[in-house]
């Protein structure tokens, strides 16, 4: 009778041991999960309509053509400078570990990583879409 009680007491412990060990040693559990997001870097760096919108001002603004062209180049460069900050802003809001370009995400085995390109684009459009060019006279 005592032996039976003893075995009954040990059973949950053995089950717990087996469960914990299997959890700890299984490859799935061994991997720390990362929150990976993706962007279409090429689109954000050169394909966004925002760049076309900035470039179109060359035909609209009266003034020295070279000065306007220079102002457009500077504005495009400002957008590119702001791009990493915009990506970081979205990433931090999502509490992400990594943001990768779509092609890198696929190479890294994360093809289903959430695409934050539209959110990043929205930030850049809000920041630069309505801002007038600064033309040196």
């Amino acid at each position: 009778m005592t032996g039976l009680i003893g075995k009954r007491k040990q059973a949950p412990c053995r089950a717990a041991l087996a469960l914990l060990l299997s959890c700890a040693l299984s490859p799935a559990a061994a991997k720390e999960t990362l929150l990976v997001l993706s962007v279409d870097a090429e689109y954000l760096e050169s394909g966004m309509p925002l760049y076309g919108q900035i470039g179109a001002q060359l035909a609209l603004i009266k003034g020295e053509r070279d000065a306007v062209a220079l102002a457009i180049e500077l504005r495009r460069s400002e957008v590119l400078t702001a791009l990493p900050e915009a990506i970081a802003k979205v990433a931090q809001a999502a509490n992400a570990d990594l943001v990768l370009d779509r092609s890198v995400a696929e190479r890294a085995g994360e093809p289903a990583a959430r695409d934050i390109t539209p959110e990043v684009e929205r930030i850049l459009v809000a920041q630069f879409g309505q801002r007038a060019l600064e033309i040196e006279q």
Partner: protein, 174 residues
């Protein structure tokens, strides 16, 4: 130790030992100071450049000074002027050749370090069972505290496998 406590301890410690992210990121931007091989190479190249300068500079300075004096003396010294100009040109050519050899030796040494870095990345991938090891330049954003950052381990392995690289001035281009 009671069985349940033991099981928990085993599970936690085993889990902690093998837990690793599926993607690793390394930052090689400080390789010239963090890699002992590259830091040594940089110092060697610097020493060689100083030695090269010390070998040729005094002779060049002396010849240029002589040439200046001869020019002041006038057209009668044309032949000695030409002879000195030729000596200056020869020294400059020799110095350029030595510089080229140094540059090739430097490139060869860097290629050795690059190969070691590639091997270390493979080792890192194997030991953590990660899917990929990315350079930080390949990322658009990296959380500064991300568990995926493996830069320290990379330099640890790199400095253990290639503590030094030789600057071989006699070696042919690779």
């Amino acid at each position: 130790m009671k069985p349940l406590v033991l099981a928990t301890w085993l599970a936690v410690s085993a889990g902690a030992a093998v837990a690793s992210p599926p993607i690793l990121v390394v930052d090689l931007s400080e390789a010239y100071s963090r890699s002992t091989a590259l830091a040594g190479l940089l110092a060697d190249v610097d020493r060689q450049l100083q030695a090269l300068s010390a070998r040729h500079r005094p002779g060049l300075d002396r010849l240029r000074s002589e040439l200046g004096k001869l020019k002041q003396q006038g057209a009668g010294t044309r032949d000695p002027q030409l002879a000195i100009a030729k000596q200056i040109s020869d020294i400059e050519t020799a110095a350029e050749l030595e510089q080229d050899q140094l540059s090739i030796a430097n490139q060869n040494a860097i290629a050795i370090v690059n190969a070691a870095i590639a091997a270390v990345k493979s080792t890192l991938k194997e030991e953590t069972q990660a899917r990929i090891v990315l350079d930080v330049q390949e990322t658009q954003y990296l959380r500064p505290t991300c568990a995926c950052i493996a830069t320290e381990r990379l330099y640890e392995l790199l400095n253990a496998t290639l503590p030094r690289v030789e600057l071989r001035l006699d070696a042919a281009p690779q």
